[in-house]
């Protein structure tokens, strides 16, 4: 039977096994989003596994609040996102669409070679989003 290439929310996929061999608690799965602003760029620091019902909902709300406040330049720092499922992929695209609709832009920071980056490559989202390996490079790209 074929397995979903994306981390799915139907139980088909594969979280990395915890190093301890102990099942992770629900708390450890929760996504945290912190916002900051540097050089006029709104940075959303996302941390945790972005999956249906948690990461996607939190991202939608955090992003919508900023967009409604008139903000138009965004950096999603996903360095601390170990993976994202198809719902989170969809939500990231939906944010991009909402931003574009308002003349805004979203860029992404994520380390190459990580699981989240692998998902972006697998879904070709690397053709849509400008992806940077670190925050400094990403922020500099807004200036140029």
């Amino acid at each position: 039977m074929y397995k979903n290439p994306l981390p799915g929310h139907d139980g088909t996929v594969p979280a990395e096994p915890p190093a301890t061999g102990v099942r992770e608690s629900a708390q450890e799965h929760r996504v945290e989003i912190k916002a900051d602003k540097k050089n006029g760029i709104n940075i959303l620091y996302l941390a945790g596994k972005m999956t249906i019902g948690d990461g996607d909902v939190k991202l939608r709300k955090a992003f919508r609040d900023l967009l409604e406040a008139g903000e138009r330049q965004f950096l999603f720092d996903m360095s601390e996102v170990p993976y994202l499922d198809s719902a989170a992929v969809g939500e990231t695209v939906a944010c991009y669409k909402r931003a574009s609709d308002q003349g805004g832009v979203i860029k992404v920071v994520m380390p190459p070679g990580g699981k989240a980056h692998e998902v972006f490559v697998l879904t070709y989202l690397d053709r849509v989003f400008q992806i940077f390996p670190d925050e400094d490079e990403a922020l500099a790209s807004f200036a140029s």
Binding site: M1, Y2, N4, P5, L6, G8, D10, I52, D56, R60, D85, S86, A87, A88, V89, G90, E91, V93, A94, Y96, K97, S100, D101, L122, T123, Y124, L125, R127, V128
Partner: protein, 114 residues
């Protein structure tokens, strides 16, 4: 959401009708698509012309289907209504950089020809 499957030559046309949203509809699409891939099918048109609502989960599942297809050397073309909401959403989201998007079934089918 309803999914009808018909075949034109070697191309499987998945006709989606209704809301393609989080929950049952996205699971329906995933299961239907994986079943066809497992059966050896490799050419698909995802017909969204009768989709009444497409949320972020629906978009994510469409991209997931595209990834599954690529992993199995299969090809998906996406059919959307011209000037429809889905078409506009896909273009605004720059998804035409990822997906082969058509507004005409004949053209989508012709694109499979060598």
């Amino acid at each position: 959401m309803q999914i009808g499957v018909r075949k034109e030559g070697n191309v499987n046309i998945l006709e989606l009708a209704g809301p393609m949203i989080i929950g049952e509809p996205e699971l329906q699409l995933r299961e239907c698509f994986i079943r066809l891939l497992d059966a050896g099918e490799r050419q698909f048109v995802l017909d969204l012309t009768s989709v009444t609502q497409l949320d972020s989960a629906g978009i994510g599942e469409t991209l997931a289907c595209n990834s599954r297809a690529r992993e199995r050397d299969a090809v998906i073309k996406v059919l959307v209504p011209p000037r429809g909401r889905a078409h506009r959403d896909f273009l605004i989201a720059d998804l035409d950089k990822i997906l082969d998007i058509f507004t005409d079934e004949e053209a989508a089918l012709r694109s499979f020809e060598p």
